[in-house]
């Protein structure tokens, strides 16, 4: 078994043993997918992802867009008649994808890195830098300019950053994960 296959096998085992043992009870009713607000954009829908896990196709899931688009609204887990915590499974796969360096949606990965780097430097988020940074990095410099204008006009944004005294220690911890 190749290295990456071993990793995928461990992910499947972890899901079935620790993250959500109830996965065995899924009978493919599809309620999770029916409630998912983003299912139409997913390559594999939530109920299909559950089945793919059981069929040893973790690689297919991690290399497709679903888990990275998922916004953790938890409607799936909420609706499941068998109490399968679909959301926890999606989240675990997403975290594993990140740790393996696979994050299929570049915009989102850029956003997370930028957000956490700012938090690392300041200890808190800083919206002006976040919004500007996102616009620059995604190449859409004038994205949402109308909203930005109104935010400034209504003085609805903090223009000066805030610093946490212990930010160095926070940064040390953050650096291990980004």
């Amino acid at each position: 078994m190749g290295n990456i296959d071993k990793k995928f096998k461990k992910i499947k085992d972890d899901i079935q043993n620790f993250i959500e043992p109830n996965i065995h009870y899924c009978y493919q009713c599809g309620k999770c997918t029916a409630g998912c607000p983003l299912a139409s954009d997913y390559k594999y829908k939530p109920h299909q992802i559950i089945q793919l896990i059981k069929l040893d196709r973790i690689g297919s899931i991690i290399n497709s867009n679903s888990i990275y688009l998922c916004i953790s609204c938890e409607i799936c887990s909420s609706r499941c008649p068998q109490d399968v915590n679909v959301s926890a499974i999606m989240n675990y796969l997403r975290v594993k994808g990140w740790q393996m360096g696979i994050y299929k949606i570049p915009n989102i990965s850029i956003f997370y890195k930028l957000f956490l780097r700012i938090v690392g430097k300041l200890g808190r988020s800083y919206e002006p830098a976040l919004i500007l940074g996102l616009n620059l990095m995604s190449g859409k410099l004038f994205n949402d300019l109308d909203i930005a204008f109104n935010i400034l006009r209504k003085r609805k944004i903090k223009l000066l950053p805030e610093f946490v005294k212990d930010r160095k220690k926070i940064n040390q911890i953050l650096k291990k994960y980004i």
Partner: protein
């Protein structure tokens, strides 16, 4: 250190604003604080609080969001508090999860969760915290907190009713025909937060009833607005949020009341974009529940920062308040 949280009546709490409440959700922050003052609730902002990491931290690691939130919990403990109020629902979600991991009486599901707890304690000790003590943190979102204080709200309202001339009652309240929109984060998963009903919640409506505000029936109470995708996948948010505005209008409402600033921003800041994209003409002000309660309990439009709304209530332009 005096344990200020021994007061089971919740009259003294630690306050965790989170990053956006100091910035693009300043109206939520200010209206909440002013409302707490009217209700005679003493609150202290957690000193040197850090960002909870919200979605980015949660999506790249299991431990990181817990470590970041646990630091805030321990800071509160250092100030003598174990009851924490967090208006931001996302922050509250993370604080709540962290409290479930580090609380002394928490039953962890399996050895994996125990490993996570030990690792979190290790990192906290590295930061200089003493983890060798008993923890019993209770975290509250604003709706949970206000629901607990329902009777107090009614009491204050009755007291003020006699003082405020009901004829000059603020036009916003007089003409309010709202629906309550709950969003995703607070009520799910139902086994975790254990508050209200995840499919047909009524806590907001019940709170508002205490100040004589009647809400319309609404079928989209917990439909997702698109949340953080606002920054990376705008189209999804426009579509999801448009659905909510449409359903609110069809329900006969002229406004929406929320308690999540991400929902508020998607529905309010993007309403003009939604109108343009879908060739609609929605004009629904999106109020924070703390703004409406504040107004009902005698605060002015300026006090609760009504002017920060992108979609301004018509009456605001007509009146001079």
């Amino acid at each position: 250190m005096e344990n200020k949280s021994q007061n089971s009546k919740l009259n003294k709490i630690a306050y965790y604003p989170g990053c956006s409440l100091n910035s693009t959700a300043i109206d939520f922050n200010v209206s909440t604080k002013k409302l707490l003052k009217i209700l005679d609730i003493e609150f202290e902002e957690i000193e040197d609080w850090n960002c909870c990491g919200t979605t980015p931290a949660h999506n790249i690691s299991e431990e990181l969001p817990i470590i970041l939130s646990a630091r805030n919990l321990l800071l509160a403990k250092g100030m003598g508090y174990e009851d924490i109020l967090s208006p931001c629902v996302a922050c509250h979600n993370k604080l709540h999860k962290a409290s479930k991991i580090i609380n002394s009486d928490s039953e962890l599901k399996n050895i994996r969760d125990e490993k996570i707890r030990n690792s979190v304690f290790e990192k906290l000790e590295d930061m200089g915290f003493d983890c060798n003590q008993s923890f019993n943190f209770k975290t509250y979102s604003i709706v949970q907190f206000l629901f607990i204080k329902k009777d107090l709200i009614r009491q204050k309202y009755e007291e003020l009713k006699n003082k405020i001339d009901t004829e000059v009652k603020l036009p916003i309240l007089k003409n309010l025909k709202p629906v309550c929109y709950y969003g995703c984060m607070l009520l799910r998963p139902k086994n975790s937060i254990k508050f209200d009903d995840p499919e047909n919640p009524t806590s907001m409506e019940e709170i508002l009833r205490e100040v004589d505000i009647k809400c319309k029936e609404f079928q989209f109470k917990t439909e997702c607005c698109g949340a953080i995708l606002s920054l990376t996948h705008k189209k999804a948010v426009l579509e999801l949020s448009k659905g909510i505005l449409e359903e609110a209008t069809d329900s006969g409402a002229n406004s929406i009341i929320v308690f999540c600033q991400l929902c508020q921003q998607n529905l309010d800041m993007r309403q003009q974009q939604i109108n343009k994209y879908y060739k609609e003409s929605y004009n629904l002000p999106i109020f924070y529940i703390t703004q409406i309660l504040g107004l009902a309990l005698g605060l002015s439009y300026k006090d609760v920062m009504i002017d920060k709304l992108f979609v301004e209530p018509k009456y605001l332009k007509e009146s001079n308040i």
